[in-house]
Symmetry: D2
Subunit: 354 residues, 4 copies
C-alpha cells in the first residue's frame, strides 16, 4: 500500500484526498496547506490524517512514499523537484510546469532516481477517452485525418494563465494520449477582452506529418457550454461530447472513398459513404479513482505511467510554443523535439521507455 502526502488543499486537493483515501492501493498520511482554515477542514473531515502547515514536514517523513502536488502552477517545479530530491514519487497537477525547460529538469530528476513522475491529465482516465484510444489502437478509425475540439463556456477567467493553459491543456492531454502522433508545429491566435489580462479566447492549429491536423478552440466568454471533439479517420469518425449524460462517444461509419488511378490524380472521384452510427457503452468509474489506482500500481508494480513526466513535458512544450505563436498573430512555431520527448513512452515496451 502506497503512503501519500498531499500538498495543497484548495480546489482540487480534496478530490485527491478523497480518492487516494478510498482505494485499497493507497493511504493518505498527511496533508499540508498554508491556510490554517483549510487544514482545519481536513481535520474535521479526516481526523486520522495528519495536517502540516509546512510541506517540508511531508518531504522529511520517511513513512511517506509519494507526494501529490495540488498547488498553483508557478510552484509545481520547485515542489516537485524537492519531492524527487527527497526520494518521493510525484503526482502533480497539470500543466506540469510553467516552462519546458523546467519540465525537462523534472523528467531528468525522476528518471535518474528511478522515481515515478506522474502528471494529473485526468481526462485520459475517463471511460470515454479510454474508449477512443482503444478505437484508434484497434485501427477502427483507419488512417487518422484530424482532431477538432471545442471547449467553451462562461467563466472562470484566470488571472495568471491564459485560456490555452487553462482549457486547451485538457484537449492537448487527450490528443497526446489517443493520437500515436507528435505535432511538428503550432499556429495560435487569440485575444483578451479584459485590459491587462491573459487571452480569454484562443484557437490552436497543430500540424503533424502525414496530412494530419488538429484544432482546439477555447473560450471563457461563451453564452453556452460546449465540450465537443471530432476525430476524423479514413474508416470511421468519432464525436465525443462530454456533456452528454450517456452516449458520450458516437462512432460514425462515414467518410469518403477515392476512386481513381495513381497516374491520373486529377480525375479522382470522391464518393461519400454513410453507414451506421454506434455509441459504445462506457466505463463510468470516476476518472480520478482509476488514475489514483494506476499511479499506485506504477509505484508498486513498476508500470509505466500513462501520463508520465514526458507526456507532461510534451504538453508544456506545445503550450509554450502556442503562447509564442499567439503573440505573433498565428505565425507557425515549430517544436524542438529534443530530449527524446516526442516519443510516446506509453506506447513503447517498458525497456525502451526506461
Amino acid at each position: 500500500m502506497i503512503k501519500i502526502g498531499i500538498i495543497g488543499y484548495g480546489y482540487w486537493g480534496p478530490n485527491l484526498v478523497r480518492n487516494f483515501s478510498e482505494i485499497q492501493e493507497s493511504r493518505v498520511i498527511a496533508v499540508s496547506d498554508l491556510d490554517p482554515k483549510r487544514l482545519n477542514l481536513v481535520k474535521t473531515r479526516h481526523p486520522d490524517i495528519q495536517t502540516e502547515a509546512d510541506y517540508r514536514a511531508l518531504l522529511a517523513n520517511p513513512g511517506i512514499d509519494a507526494i501529490a502536488i495540488a498547488t498553483p502552477v508557478s510552484s509545481h517545479y520547485r515542489l516537485a523537484l524537492e519531492a524527487l530530491e527527497a526520494g518521493k514519487h510525484v503526482f502533480v497537477e497539470k500543466p506540469l510546469t510553467e516552462t519546458a525547460k523546467e519540465a525537462e529538469a523534472l523528467v531528468a530528476a525522476a528518471e535518474m532516481r528511478n522515481l515515478v513522475l506522474h502528471v494529473d491529465h485526468t481526462f485520459i482516465y475517463t471511460g470515454a477517452v479510454r474508449k477512443i484510444r482503444q478505437l484508434v489502437d484497434n485501427g477502427d478509425l483507419g488512417d487518422l485525418y484530424y482532431y477538432d475540439s471545442v471547449r467553451i463556456n462562461l467563466g472562470l477567467f484566470q488571472h495568471d494563465i491564459n485560456v490555452i493553459w487553462d482549457l486547451a491543456v485538457h484537449d492537448l492531454a487527450i490528443m497526446d494520449y489517443v493520437f500515436p502522433l507528435t505535432p511538428v508545429a503550432v499556429s495560435a491566435t487569440g485575444i483578451s477582452h479584459v485590459p491587462d489580462k491573459p487571452a480569454n479566447i484562443a484557437f490552436l492549429t497543430l500540424f503533424f506529418d502525414n496530412n494530419v491536423i488538429a484544432h482546439i478552440h477555447v473560450n471563457w466568454l461563451a453564452p453556452v457550454k460546449l465540450r465537443r471533439t471530432l476525430i476524423g479517420g479514413s474508416r470511421k469518425m468519432v464525436l465525443y461530447d462530454d456533456l452528454e449524460p450517456s452516449e458520450k462517444i458516437k462512432v460514425y461509419d462515414k467518410g469518403i472513398t477515392l476512386n481513381g488511378s495513381k497516374e491520373n490524380l486529377y480525375n479522382t472521384l470522391i464518393g461519400y459513404r454513410t453507414g451506421d452510427m454506434w455509441a459504445p457503452q462506457l466505463e463510468i468509474t470516476e476518472a480520478l479513482r482509476v488514475e489514483a489506482q494506476h499511479f499506485s500500481r506504477c509505484i508498486t508494480h513498476g508500470e509505466a505511467s500513462l501520463s508520465d513526466g514526458r507526456a507532461g513535458l510534451r504538453i508544456v512544450r506545445i503550450l509554450e510554443a502556442a503562447n509564442r505563436s499567439l503573440r505573433e498573430g498565428g505565425r507557425p512555431v515549430k517544436f524542438d523535439w529534443l530530449f527524446g520527448n516526442a516519443t510516446h513512452s506509453d506506447r513503447l515496451p517498458v525497456e525502451e521507455a526506461a
Copy 2:
C-alpha cells in the same frame, strides 16, 4: 418592372429563374446555358422564357435590363464585365471573382456607368441574419467582442476551389453584413486529405482593431452537420443555429462585468452575469425572394445594394489573403484596404457611398 436575363441554368440558376419570375418587381426574359438539355428543361418548365445557347444574345438584347450570372466562379469576371460593358445591371453568384484585382475592376466598371453590381450573398437576406444585424445596430449586444462560426458536414468536395472559398465565404458575407467593422489581417490554417486536391478543412482567424476577433471553422469531412455561429458582445451574446427548425436565433443576457479602477487594472474583479434567454420570432420569407426584390428596387429606386460589388470585393480580398496565409501555415496576412473598399457603403448615407 425589371427585365432579367439569366446566364447559367445549373445548380443555382433554377432558383434564380423561379424567384425572379414569381415576384412583381421583375420578369425573366431569357436564359442561356451551354448545355442543350438544361435549356430544354427551361422550355418545359417556363414555356414563356426565351432560351439561348450563347449568352451574348442576352447581352445584345435591348429588352433586358439586368443579367444574373450563375456560372462557375472562374467565368464571373469575364461575364460580369461584358454585361456591364453592354450597359446591364449585374447580379452575380458568390464569390464575386477569383481575385481582388478582378473584383476591383468590376466595381470600377459598374460605378463608372452607374450600374448596379450585386453579389448573391444569399444568407444576409434571411430573417435570422437580418435580425442579428438589427440587434447589432440597436446596440443590444453592446461592444462587439467576437464572431465565431462553425460550418461543417460531409461533402461536397469541390475540385477547383478549397473549402474556404466554398463554405467560409458564407460566414464572411454574414460577418461583413452584421459587423460594422473591417478586419485588418487574417491567419488561416488547413489541410487536404485528398492528394492534389484543395484543402477540405480550414480554420480562419480574422483580426480587427478594438479587441475584436473572428474565427471561422469549415470542414467537408465531418460526420455531423453543424451551422452554428456565436457572436459575443459586452451586453448580450447571440447563438445562431441555422439548422434549428425554429428558434434559429437565441439572445443570451450573459457576460462579464468588470469592477476595478483604471489605476489598478491588475486588481480588476471579473463578475459573471446570467440573465434571460430570448429567441425572437423571425421572418420566414425565402431569402432569395427578398434578395430578388431588393435587387430590383436597387435598379428602379436607386437603393444601395446591401451586397454590392464593394462587399463582394471585401470578401474576395479576405479569401485571397486567407489562401496566402494557408499556404504559409497560418502566418498572419494584413489586408491592403486600398480603393476605399474597407468601407461598408451600406452603413453610410447614400452621398458618401456613391
Copy 3:
C-alpha cells in the same frame, strides 16, 4: 405497367400523381377533381394526363386498371365501392372509411372480386419503420413490452375529424405494421379547446394480451413539434424520432433482468442492463415511391399488400372504439374482432391470407 386514374387533386393528390408517374411500374392516365382550377394545374404540370371533372369518367375508362382516391374521408366508402364495382383495383387515403362497417363492406367487395384494396398508410413504407419491423421480426427486441408514441405540434385543426383520426391514425398504422399483435381494448381520453369542434388533444391506451401495452399521445395545440416513438422489449428498446435529420432509429441495449425462482416470485431481484446504442443506416427512398411500386406489384404479381383493406379495417375499428371511449371519459372499450380482421394477413402465408 399499371394504368392509374386519380380522384382528387387537393393536398395529397399531387404527390400521388408525381410518384405514380415517375416509377416504371405505373402510368397515370387521368385525374379528376371537382375544382376546375385544380384540373388546370394538372394540365399545366402534366400535359399528357387526361383531366375529368367527373370521376365516373375514370371508372368507365377500360384503359384504367386502378383508381387512387385522395378525397375527404367521408367520400372514401362510396368512391372505393364504385371503383371496386367497376372492376378497378383501389388505392385509398387513410383512414379507409368513417366506420368499421363500411370498411368491412369494402374488404368484402374487394376480396369477392379478387381486386387489390390498398390503404395509404404511408409511414410503413419509410426506411425507419421498415427497419423497426425487421428488428421485431428478427427477435432483436425480444418479447415486446410496449409501444409509446407522441405526435404533437401546433395546428392544423381539422373541422370534421378529431385529432385521433388525423394524427393517431399514423401511429396506429405503424404499430399495426411492426407489432405482430392485435389489441383487445382501448381507453381514450381527450378534450376540445374550441367550442363545438372535435377534440384537439387525446390520449389512447391500447391493451393487448400477454402484458403488452400501447399508448398514443396526440395534440394539435403544442408549442413544440414532436414525433417520437419508444418501443420496449425484453432484449432491446427502440427510440424512433422522425424529426431527426439522420439517426431516426436508435436501438438501445438496455433493459431489466429478473433473477429469482418461480416459487418465490416475491423475491425477484431486478437488475438493470445498459449496453451499446446503435443507429442503423436507413433507406432514404421516398416512402410514397416505395409504396406506389409495392401497390403496382400487388396488382401485377399478386403480392399481398402490406396495408391492405383488412389493415385499414383494423385501424378504423380502433378509431371507432377510441371515439366511443373518449366520449365516456376513458372507459375501456373492447374490440369485436369478428370477420377475421384481427389477423395480420401480411404475416401469414399467402394461402391463409387469401
Copy 4:
C-alpha cells in the same frame, strides 16, 4: 431557531440532515434509524448530532420542536400521528400516507393542535416550478388549457408501490401547486412487466371543469430519461424540461386565435399565432434548502405551508383513485372532495384556510 429530530437516515434522510443543519433557521438535534450502521454514519459525519435506535426518544425529547419523517410510506401515518400527538410539528416525505383516510386523520390531528403538517413535495421549491406558478398567477398563460407531463427512465423499480405512487406523485404535486384548479376525475391505465410486481408503466388523465385536462406519463422501463412538462394556455405555453442544464423553462408566445361569431360557431376560423420564445433566468438555490427554510418559518412565523397536509391529502386522494381506475382499465373515477380538501389553502387568505 427550530430544533429538529429526523426519523430515518436511508436514501433521503442525509439530505434532510444536511439542509436542516446548514440553514440559520433550524438545528438538527437527533436522528433515529433502526440500522446501527446508518447511525454510525451519522456519528462520523455529524459528531454533534444525537443518535437513537428508537424514534420514541425523539418524540419524548422536550427540546425537539419538529419531527422530519424519511421512512417508507407504509410507516408515515403511524409516525406522523405519534409525532403530532406528542405535540411536534411534522415534515413528512411524499406521498403523505397510503390512503386518503389516513391523510385526513393526520390533517385533522394537526389542525386540532395547531401544529404544522408539511409534506415534502420538493419540486415546488425549485426555481423552475416557482417561476411557472408566477407565470400562471400573473395571467401570462391566459386561460389554462392543459398540463402534460412525461417522466420516464430506466429503473428504479419499487417493490411496494407502483410507478404512479413513485413518479407521478411528483407531477401531481407540481400540478397541484401551479394550477389553481382541482381535478374532478381520473382515468389511469398501465401495466406491469414483472410477474406479481406493481405497474411499471402508467398513464393518467385528469379531468377538470372548464375544458382543462392533464396527462401524466410515467415509466420505469424506458431507454432514455425524460422529465418534460408542457403547459398550454390561451395566451402562452410553457415547456419545462428539468434535464436542461440551463433554460429549464421556455415560454412560447404561440397558440390559436378564434375568429367567429357566437351565433355561428360552426364557421369559427382558427388562426395560428407564433411569436418569440423566452427562457427566464431561474433561482438556483437547492430546492430542499428553500423548503427547509420555509418549513421553519411556518413554525416560527405562522406562515401557511405551501405543501401542507391538505395538499398532501389532495395528492393521496388522486393516487388512490388512480389505482382504482388502473385496475379497471381506465374507467374514469370521480373524486369525492369532501372535507374541504379540494381547496388550495395556499391560495387563500389565512382565515379562510384555517
